[in-house]
Amino acid sequence: MNARQQLALESPTIEFNLNGQSVVGKSGETLLQTADRYGIDIPRLCYKEGMRADGNCRSCMVEIKGERTLAPSCCRFPTAGMEVSSDSARAVHAQKMIIELLASDMPEKVYKPDSELDHWKRKLGIGRPRFARRQQPVADTSHPAMAVNLDACIQCTRCVRACREVQVNDVIGYAFRGPHSEIVFDLGDPMGESSCVACGECVQACPTGALAPAGETYLIATDKEVPSVCPYCGVGCQLTYHVKNNHIVRVEGRAGPANEGRLCVKGRFGFDYVHHKQRLTKPLIRKPGRPKSADFVMDPNDPLSVFR
């Protein structure tokens, strides 16, 4: 148990009412986190565990007795005796309308099967959105490792927070206003020409697949998931390999003590060496009479000319 968890156990609790049921909130816990602990499902899109709650998507709205407007449960803390409902007609209406508004702008093309938006759409029983679709931005495929399809963007700014606050790279920003607002790299550069270091944290954060690994690997159905540790440096970041036919399709960060789900460019995108033909998979012994000089050049595609 770390110091933060220890503190949470010792801190005072707050008793309040959630959906007619008396619940006990822990100190520093938001309404959404308490609801999760009690198994009450509240939609959320811009909220991701481990990231600062921003409260911009407004899909987690709850009704609090005595308040004029609804409140976002992801960044609202309980007070003693507060009466909160996430299942009142007013709260559910707002939750459903928000999801419908966002879904109405989604493209026909699927970038990420069962994305978080699709998940909540299905859960709340929302059919075909009744609103006309927006004019869609063009795709940006300038980056070798990641595809940017802002037609599927819901402006939840999880990628912005992942880039700025989690990885502290500060490449992704949120530019322009109102309906023109969009995710930009540096000063609106194509992703491949920006100062992006390709850590892929934004891809992992994106709830809709607007930021996805290049090559549409989200669409490949994999056979198995292999929990593993990054083979590169000694930090020991834990990750999950998504594998099909014994080939790695994509990599996802796994919550481990060293990385808490984060990865860098090598761990996330550097897995093509596994089946590379120049990779040595067993120890080799130099053939007799082969030169040992430092300037000797060997054809890496044919190590057996020198070794046996």
């Binding site: 609804l70 007013r90 707002a94 928000i98 927006r134 402006q155």
Partner: protein, 72 residues
């Protein structure tokens, strides 16, 4: 007036950023879908972060309430 709100929206929260634009589209049609507009208005007033989004549906509700004759 709704175009003004869409223009003034900062784009942070969904009900205002998307809602104002969808309201403009719905209001541009020959015959208003008053039921859908009311559903949208309710969500915008309830769920927007600031007063701009919360008050943006007021013109729709005013027209429907006080000038229903203009809509037919």
């Amino acid at each position: 007036m709704m175009r003004f709100f869409a223009d003034e929206s900062c784009g942070q929260c969904t009900p205002c950023r998307v809602g104002t634009v969808k309201a403009v589209q719905l209001m541009a049609s020959e015959k208003w879908d008053t039921q859908l507009l009311e559903e949208l208005s309710q969500a915008m007033a309830d769920a927007s972060i600031c007063g701009l989004g919360q008050a943006a549906p007021n013109p729709i509700r005013c027209v429907v309430k006080y000038f229903p004759g203009e809509l037919t």
